[in-house]
Amino acid sequence: MHAGIIFFLVILGSVLFHIFTPWYWTDVASNWGGMDDTITLTFWVGGGVFIAVCLFMIYCVFKFSYKEDRKAEYKPEDKKLERILTWATTLGVAALLAPGLIIWNQFISVPKNAIEIDVMAWQWGWQYRLPGEDGKLGTTQVVNINDNNPFGINIDDPYGKDDVMIQSDVINLENNRPVKILLRSVDVLHNWYVPQFRAKMDAVPGIVTYYWFEPNKTGKYEVLCAEYCGVGHYAMRGGVIVQDDQDYDNWLQDQETFSDLIAKQKILETSKTKLAKK
C-alpha cells in the first residue's frame, strides 16, 4: 500500500513543483512567441496524459494488490478498446504536430525585408558583418582571412566594399526589424543562441546556414554557443543590444566599412614604406 502512496506523492510533488518553480523560461523578446505557445500546448496535453496514466496505475496498485483468494481477470484482448485508444492517441498527436509544422513553416520562410547579418564564428568568439548601403553582403572565402581582411571578403566583389564590419562579439539590432542571421564558421561547429529570442541554428564550416527572427524588446541580451565546439565552448559568449531605430542609426554611423579598413591599411603601409625610405 505504501508504494501507491509514495507514487502518488511523486506525482503530486511534480505538479506542485511546476506551479511553484522559480525556474521557468525568460520572457520572449522576439516574434517567436508561437514557439512558447506550442510548448505550452504540448505541456498541457502531455502533462495531462502523464498524470492520467500515473493515477490509473496508482489506482490499480491500491485496488488490485495481491490477495490469495482472488483470481485476476482473464482477458487476452479487447479489440474495441485498443482501437479507441489508438485513434484517440493518433488524434492527440496530430493536434500537437499541426501547430508545430505551421510555425516551422514560418521559421524557414524569411520575410523579404529582413536585414541580412553575417555571423562569423571561430574557436572561441564571434564577429559580425552588416551589408552596407547596397543592402548586399559581399561573398567570402575562408582562405582570404587574414589580419587585413578579418572576414575573408573577396576583394573583387563590389558588394563587399561597403560591408560594415563589427569586430566585436556584441552586435546591435534594430527593434521590430526582422533579421536574417547568416551563420558561418571557420573551424568547427558553433551555434548562435540567444535564449530570449528562442531560435537557434548551428554554424557549420564549409556552408552558410541561416535563421530569422524579429526582436521586439529593447535591451541587452547574452549570446551563448549552443553546439559543443571544444574546451572553450562554455566560455564562448557574445552579446546583442536591441535598440530603437534612432539609437541604432547612431551606432551604425560609427562602424567601420571594408573600404575604410582597406584605406586605413593603405595609409599604414605607405607610412611604413616612407619610414623605411627615411
Binding site: 511523486v10 512558447d36 504540448t42 495481491y66 551563420l183 528562442r198 548551428d202
Partner: protein, 612 residues
C-alpha cells in the same frame, strides 16, 4: 575430439517420437505436435576451467560474462558522472578538474553508458541468457561464434579504457563525436583518444555482429516444437527486433568511424571543409561535416530503440508474471515492437533540426517522429491495462516495473516536445534534452534491468535476492533519479545549454546554481545506492534462500528446465514441447493461477483458454 561432443542418440528419439505416450485416444489428438524439423544440436562440452568458464561456448555463461563486463564499464561510467556532477554542483571542490577533463568525462560517460553498458547488457547479457531458454533451444546456434563475440567485446572495452592512458587522454568530443572538432586541436584527445574510440567502436560492431547473427538465427530457425512466433514471450520479441535494428544500424556507425579515422590518420577530407586554425589554413577542404551527422544518427536513433525495445519486452513479461494476468493485447504489443523498430529508421534527422541541414527535412522528420508516439503510447496503455483487474504482487520486481512506467511515460512525453520540430528549436542543446534522454533511455531501461535482475537472479544462482534490501534499493534509486531529472527539464526551459563546464554569471544561469547543487547531491546518493545491489548479490550467493523450481510461478519456458540453474544444454534429455503462449495466468477453471507453456492441453481440457 569427438568425445567432447554428445553425439547422442536423442536425434533419433526426437524425430521419430510419435504420438504415443499419452493416455486416451482423444487426449492424443489435442496433444499432437508435429515431429522435429531440425536435428539435435551438437554441443561442445568444455572440461577444463578455461573452456568451461573463460572461453566458454555456453550461451548462459556468455550472457553472465557480458553482464559482468558491461556492469564493470557501467560503474566506470557512473564514476565519471559523479565527477561531472561534482564539477557542476560544487566547482570549488573539483579544483583538480580542468575543462579538458570535464569534456573527456562527458564523452566517455555517454559512450560507455549507451553502447558499452546498455546495449551490451540488454543484447549481450539478457539476449544470450534468455533467448535459448525462452525459445526452447539447447544453446545459441553458433556457440563458437558467440564466444568470439564476447571476447571481441572484451577487447573493444580494453581499447576504450586504454584511451585513458594514452597521450592526450580519451577523446573529449562529446559522445556524438562530431567532426571537425573531434579530430582538431582544441578538443581534448583529438589525436590518440579519438583514434582509439573509433577502433573500439569498430571492434564492438564486429563483435556485436557475431552475437547478433546468433540471436537472430536462434529465434528464427531453432525454436522448439510448438513454439510459433506468436507464442514467444515479448522479451524475445524485444531482443529480436532490437538485434535486427542493430544489424542494420551499426553499419552506419562503422562507416562513420572508419571515415573519421581516415580523416584523422591519412588526412583525407570526408568530413573536413576548409578550416582556419590559429591563423593558418589547414590542409583539408571540400568535405561535409553534416554527412557524419547523418551517418551517426542513422545509427544513433535506432540505437535508442536497441536499448528501449528489449526493455519494453522484458517489462511486459515482468508485469504480466507479477500481476498474475496475461499481458493485455499481446498481438498489439508484438506489432508495436516491430512497428517502432521499422519506424526508427525514418526519424534519425530529428536529432538535427538545428544542425544546418536542409530545413525542409523538418516537416518529414517531425511527422515520422510523432507517428512513433502512437505505437509507443499503445504499449503504455497495455502495460497499465495489464495491471487493471490483475492480482498484483507488490514485490521488488513489480516496484521496478511501476518505476519504469512513471519514468518512461515522463521521458516519452518530453520526447514529443523534442520531436515536434518547432518546440525543439528553443529546447535543443539545452538541459531539457539531457533530462529527456536520461529519463527515457537512462533511468527507464535501468529500472527494467534492475527488475529483471531481481526476477531472473534465481534462475542464474538458484537463490532469491533479499526483498528488504531490494526495496531500499528501489526507493532510493527511483526517488533519487526522479529528483535528478524532473527538475532538470526546467533548467532547459530557462535555456541553460548542455555541455557547459561552468555557468559563469549569466543572469538566468545564476539561479541554476542551487538546482545544480541539489541535483549533484541526489546523483551521489543514487549512484551509491547501486552498491546495495552488489551487497545483496554477494549476500544472497552465500546465505540466500534457495529458490527451487519456478519461484514466481511463471508460465514461460525458461523456468521449466529440469534443473535450476539450468545446465549446459538446458533441457536434459528431451527438448520441451510448447502448447500455448507464455501468458496463461489466472485461466478460469484451472487449478492454479498459471498454466505453463509445456502443460499438455489434455491436462487442462476443462479450462476456458481463449488464446493459444
Amino acid at each position: 575430439m569427438s568425445e567432447e561432443f554428445n553425439d547422442n542418440k536423442t536425434i533419433q528419439a526426437q524425430s521419430s517420437e510419435s504420438i504415443s505416450g499419452g493416455g486416451s485416444g482423444a487426449a492424443n489428438d489435442i496433444d499432437y505436435v508435429r515431429p522435429a524439423e531440425v536435428g539435435e544440436q551438437d554441443l561442445y562440452h568444455g572440461h577444463s576451467f578455461i573452456s568451461k568458464w573463460v572461453f566458454c561456448q555456453d550461451a548462459k555463461v556468455i550472457g553472465v560474462q557480458y553482464f559482468l563486463l558491461a556492469t564493470f564499464t557501467g560503474i566506470i561510467g557512473l564514476i565519471l558522472s559523479w565527477l561531472m556532477r561534482l564539477q557542476l554542483g560544487f566547482p570549488e571542490l573539483a579544483g583538480f578538474m580542468t575543462a579538458e577533463h570535464y569534456y573527456q568525462f562527458v564523452t566517455m560517460h555517454g559512450m560507455i553508458m549507451v553502447v558499452y553498458f546498455l546495449t551490451a547488457l540488454f543484447l549481450g547479457g539478457f539476449g544470450n541468457f534468455l533467448i535459448p531458454l525462452m525459445v526452447g533451444a539447447r544453446d545459441m546456434v553458433f556457440p563458437y561464434l558467440n564466444m568470439v563475440s564476447f571476447w571481441m567485446f572484451f577487447i573493444a572495452v580494453g581499447v576504450l579504457l586504454a584511451s585513458f592512458f594514452v597521450p592526450g587522454g580519451p577523446t573529449g568530443s562529446g559522445w556524438t563525436l562530431y567532426p571537425p572538432q573531434a579530430i582538431l586541436e582544441g578538443t581534448p584527445g583529438s589525436g590518440w583518444g579519438i583514434m582509439l574510440m573509433c577502433i573500439s567502436l569498430i571492434l564492438f560492431v564486429a563483435g556485436f555482429t557475431m552475437g547478433g547473427l546468433n540471436y537472430l538465427i536462434t529465434v528464427l530457425q531453432a525454436r522448439t516444437r510448438g513454439m510459433t512466433l506468436m507464442r514467444m514471450p515479448l522479451t524475445v520479441w524485444g531482443i529480436f527486433t532490437a538485434t535486427v535494428l542493430a544489424m542494420l544500424a551499426f553499419p552506419a556507425l562503422l562507416v562513420g568511424a572508419l571515415m573519421m579515422s581516415l580523416d584523422n590518420l591519412l588526412g583525407t577530407s570526408f568530413f573536413m571543409p576548409t578550416i582556419l586554425k590559429a591563423g593558418e589554413v589547414l590542409e583539408y577542404g571540400g568535405g561535409s561535416p553534416i554527412l557524419f551527422q547523418h551517418l551517426f544518427w542513422f545509427f544513433g536513433h535506432p540505437e535508442v530503440y536497441i536499448v528501449a525495445l528489449p526493455a519494453f519486452g522484458i517489462v511486459s513479461d515482468l508485469i504480466s508474471v507479477h500481476s498474475r494476468k496475461n499481458i493485455f493485447g499481446y498481438r498489439m504489443m508484438v506489432w508495436a515492437i516491430v512497428g517502432i523498430g521499422a519506424l526508427s529508421f525514418f526519424v534519425w534527422a530529428h536529432h538535427m533540426y538545428v544542425s544546418g541541414m536542409n530545413p525542409w527535412f523538418g516537416f518529414f522528420f517531425a511527422t515520422t517522429t510523432l507517428i512513433i508516439a502512437v505505437p509507443t503510447a499503445m504499449k503504455v496503455y497495455n502495460w497499465i491495462l495489464t495491471l487493471w483487474r490483475g492480482n498484483i504482487r507488490l514485490n521488488t520486481v513489480m516496484l521496478w516495473c511501476l518505476g519504469f512506467i512513471v519514468t518512461f511515460v515522463n521521458g516519452g512525453i518530453t520526447g514529443i516536445f523534442l520531436g515536434n520540430v518547432t518546440v525543439d528549436v528553443p529546447l535543443s542543446d539545452t538541459y531539457f534534452v539531457i533530462a529527456h534522454f536520461h529519463m527515457v533511455m537512462g533511468i527507464a531501461p535501468l529500472m527494467v534491468i534492475m527488475g529483471a535482475v531481481y526476477h531472473w537472479f534465481p534462475l542464474v544462482a538458484g537463490r532469491m535476492l533479499d526483498e528488504g534490501l531490494g526495496k531500499w534499493h528501489f526507493w532510493i534509486t527511483f526517488l533519487g533519479a526522479y529528483s535528478i531529472y524532473f527538475p532538470m527539464h526546467y533548467l532547459g526551459f530557462i535555456g541553460v545549454p548542455r555541455r557547459y563546464f561552468e555557468m559563469y554569471d549569466s543572469p538566468y544561469m545564476t539561479s541554476a546554481v542551487g538546482m545544480n547543487e541539489f541535483i549533484s547531491i541526489a546523483a551521489f546518493i543514487v549512484g551509491a545506492a547501486q552498491f546495495i545491489l552488489f551487497y545483496n548479490i554477494i549476500k544472497t550467493l552465500k546465505v540466500g534462500k534457495p529458490s527451487g523450481h519456478n519461484p514466481w510461478k511463471a508460465c514461460s519456458l525458461e523456468w521449466l528446465t529440469p534443473s535450476v540453474p539450468p545446465e549446459h544444454g538446458n533441457w536434459g534429455d528431451k527438448l520441451p514441447i510448447v502448447h500455448r503462449w507464455a501468458y496463461d495466468y489466472s485461466v478460469p477453471g484451472a487449478k492454479e493461477d498459471f498454466i505453463t507453456q509445456i502443460t499438455p492441453p489434455s491436462e487442462v481440457a476443462n479450462t476456458e483458454v481463449e488464446k493459444t
